[in-house]
Amino acid sequence: MSLFTSLQVSASGMAAERARAEVLVENMANAETTRTPEGGPYRRKDVVFSSDLQASPFSAVFQNELAQGVRVADVTTDDRPPEMRYMPGHPDADSNGYVAFPRMNPAEEMVDLMNASRSYQGNVAAMSAVKDMITKSIDIMK
């Protein structure tokens, strides 16, 4: 039964990487956002992964061992000070004419996004290899 647990593990990896990509895309979309519900400019977010024991839906019945999947443990907010740009005509400018913009480095976001996408592909490859193994063991009966 352990091969089915592997599918569960790969699925958890895909879900986590997808969540990470969503946060990264949100960061890039809000690179110039100066107004947020909390007030002040948008703050860059990042995810923290932690490993997570995975049980397959039938594990209680089959008593099989657990495998280590992954989950998003936390979404952190970057507390670096905002970038001050001199824009006196901007409606959000302070008394000195400076506007607080999110401190964001597009290269940083792009590299993280590529990383997330590669890891996602790795999990997809793992899942299809395991699926192939399951099919092969079913084929023994034919």
Binding site: S2, L3, T5, S6, V9, S10, S12, G13, A16, E17, R20, V48, F49, S50, S51, E65, A67, Q68, G69, V70, N115, A116, R118, S119, G122, N123, A125, A126, M127, A129, V130, D132, M133, K136, S137, D139, I140, K142
Partner: protein
């Protein structure tokens, strides 16, 4: 099982799927801070399954050695995992084909006997 060879092949496939499970765990945790690459000592576990008594405990998970850790303490190498992933799949493929061959031989012995 049917004969010693088939039993050994079954053990081999069990171990391969156990190892594949660890590979998928490693891949899923490629970005988890502090995660250590997991593996099994394949040779040792296989020998103890073949020589050992019935009902040997499940394979021992060990930490893979000789990997470079990233600054966050994670030492998963995606290249190593990709290699193991395809290696395990190919080995499993070979083993399942061999088991199929064994079963086919038995089936053909039964079928030929019918017409005797």
């Amino acid at each position: 099982m049917i004969d010693p060879t088939t039993t050994q092949l079954a053990h081999y496939m069990d171990l391969l799927s156990a190892r594949q499970k660890l590979v998928t765990s490693n891949m899923a945790n490629a970005d988890t801070p502090g995660y250590q690459t997991q593996d099994i000592d394949f040779q040792f576990e296989f020998m103890s399954l073949v020589d050992g008594p019935q009902g040997t405990p499940p394979p021992q998970t060990i930490h893979a050695q000789g990997l470079v850790a990233k600054p966050d303490g994670n030492n998963v190498s995606l290249d190593r995992e990709a290699r193991l992933l395809s290696e395990n799949a190919i080995r499993f493929n070979v083993a399942s084909t061999l088991v199929r061959g064994q079963l086919k031989a038995i089936r053909s012995a039964i079928d030929e006997g019918k017409n005797g």
